[in-house]
Symmetry: C2
Subunit: 475 residues, 2 copies
Amino acid sequence: MYDMTFELHAGGGKCLYEQIYEHIKTEIKDGKLLAGERLPSTRSLADYLQVARSTVEYAYEQLLSEGYIESQPYRGYFVCAMEELFNIEEMSCGEEAKRSSAEGREGGSTSRERESWEYNFSPHDIDMSGFPFGVWKKITKNILTYGNSELFARGEAQGDYDLRETISRYLHSSRGVNCDPEQIIVGAGNDYLLMLLEKILGRHRRIAMENPTYMRTYRIFQSFAYDVVTVEMDENGMRTDCLIKENVNAAYVMPSHQYPMGIVMPIGRRIELLKWAAGGENRFLIEDDYDSEFRYYGKPIPALQASDQQGKVIYIGTFSKAIAPAIRISFMVLPRTLLERYLENCSFYSCTVSRIDQRILNEFIRDGYFERHLNKMRKIYRAKQERLLQCLEPFKERFIVSGETTGLHLILTAKGKIAEEELLEKAKEAGVKVYGLSDSMVQMSPRNAAVLLGFGGLSPEQITEGVKRLQTVWL
Amino acid sequence: MYDMTFELHAGGGKCLYEQIYEHIKTEIKDGKLLAGERLPSTRSLADYLQVARSTVEYAYEQLLSEGYIESQPYRGYFVCAMEELFNIEEMSCGEEAKRSSAEGREGGSTSRERESWEYNFSPHDIDMSGFPFGVWKKITKNILTYGNSELFARGEAQGDYDLRETISRYLHSSRGVNCDPEQIIVGAGNDYLLMLLEKILGRHRRIAMENPTYMRTYRIFQSFAYDVVTVEMDENGMRTDCLIKENVNAAYVMPSHQYPMGIVMPIGRRIELLKWAAGGENRFLIEDDYDSEFRYYGKPIPALQASDQQGKVIYIGTFSKAIAPAIRISFMVLPRTLLERYLENCSFYSCTVSRIDQRILNEFIRDGYFERHLNKMRKIYRAKQERLLQCLEPFKERFIVSGETTGLHLILTAKGKIAEEELLEKAKEAGVKVYGLSDSMVQMSPRNAAVLLGFGGLSPEQITEGVKRLQTVWL
């Protein structure tokens, strides 16, 4: 039997049972205690170490449950036979040291490596200063007060029914979308919903996108088992005559406000697309209605889905732009045919949005706060856009300004022969970040240099100052 | 020119501009206004209808932006040429009627179709009565008060660095997991993380699972382009000798507490698995550590990842069991090699968890509430388990009770020849829901009937009463 000679340290960092456990484990790992060897009985080891017998029993139990030793009835405890042990846990100290240094080096940067520019005309930034924190907080508080524990239990896969009902009403009245709550799937962001859609539509899709387009979506489709083809566009959006020539069975469009070109697709083109989709059983249109809330002239353009009578449009909407990117709530409206496929093949995927957040959003919309918030933000953004348009007046000799009906950015296209790179470089020297149209291009095509100027995240004063700087370097 | 004869209704539901807009749109769709036809000038229509000119202009602008009409400089407005129009929006009324009835029929049921049993021994239910609502609410309130707008902006794809740092510390101290915050990806639930993992690991995987196993994961793998093979298990978990024979490059295991069998994988078997994985560059082990927090005897078993020195283990953990399923926060620890693949191919997927929720969870763990909550819940669950074990004493002549070291359910295996179905049926007659082991079986294998008895969601009194009922029908 193994000779157990080791000292226990009272008052040290580790309790007695842990010291015994650690010691024996180390002995086994170091090969000092070999497979098949018998350990002292709990009674004799307790006597020897002058500890309570239960302390030793506790240590043995732990070794037993981790599989280092085994017990044989009426015989005692034996070291288990096992394959050559990796040198477990000894590395911990070294790893720890490495980790601390990694934290020191990378810790700050990863989370805050966003480049700092004096004026950043990002087309993706939104204005959070108008966000009704007070209301959001009040609703949250009420929910956690009256919220019973049910709210913390697992919810429905498609999202809570109440929220889906609220969304379907909102979509009907504000976007003309016709759908039942049953057709809606709530998910944590568009990226997730597209991943889910891949499972619903099935693999091996050939999908058409415009060029330029929203590159995030392009990369996501590429990460799927999808062939992505780009289809030429004109001033009305995706060209149907070109689409027809491609052997695709899905097309991704943003009819209410094409990103980045800002095109609102006219009804004629929409009908052409719907006709194309109706021409094949397995053809679908994916409508990304990402920022249709911010339309400054006329009443909102109905969604493409509103014109779809054949169940060909998959509608995707989000609250990222209209409320805040951080709340991570998007939704997808499936046509009936695909709903069946979803229920059959994908309904076991749990909902990705917390039920508390779903409830907050539901009350925020239901009680009219969302509409008020939208009206307020529309005014704020319109004022910013007007400011930007005004500031851009002097640019009109050398640039074309477009994309002003909707959304949170404008496009500036050079009339003369200047490279996009040069525009970006000059802006950078002046401390201003603008975004090249080529960032959104899947394939480069010969066209005049163009940049996007987003105004959502800047104050009117910043817009004025930023454009002034551009004026000094560009004009 | 088109003869515009229609009446406006003052004081009706629709404002004047909308009536004009709707009327012209309908005329176009009904083919009464044909492509190329010229509309009256805004001035003459305004005169005719006795409305302000701006009202007509507004209506025309809307038609223009939707693509029904186009303007030609110095000539006026013309109806656009377009393909045969689908009969848009006319269906709205019919659809509306259909929708209301669907809501009436399905509305309640979908959201609340959970079968009602007097005693439901679900292995997935947890006890929410111990949840520290007060603390959660306080933290939430503070965050929304001091939270600046940054919290509502888009966060890092992998999750907020602070939370990842907190998780890495927690994992190290409580699970022995060695990782940097850089290796952690926070996501909205395990299902989502598995979807992401599919993108990281790449398609065409052949993956091994135990039988029985966690069927939700099985179904998810099946929905991927994965070949799923089941590998025989013994009392130590997945049999490595069988695994070796299968031509697989990934294996999914739950070493701390196999679901549903409750097996804790001993260190010997763990090392065998790690050796297998080390034998191929592209081989990985997916460790699902779903409920290791609830261990009732001895100190926690370290995670398999803790023994991994070759970067072979993908560790997945969740707060669904330990806090609440509804908060939808899980995390994945990637080995360095896969981290690179993630950063290259998948880091454009936005994080699926709201930053507010991330911050709440971070403070909940960081400030020690999580540990206190776990200690409290461990006691509550241990008491429930003891109660269940005690109540099951009379069953021991005819059943074997197992799985008592960890987790929120026990297994009852019949010693004699009785069908699982019969056990379930009899329980049902007594108003008691128990769960057949076959629910977790990918392939049926000849074994004695067994049922799972979960105790997380039942009170001690309900446990006593429920088991009493089982006693009357089973013994």
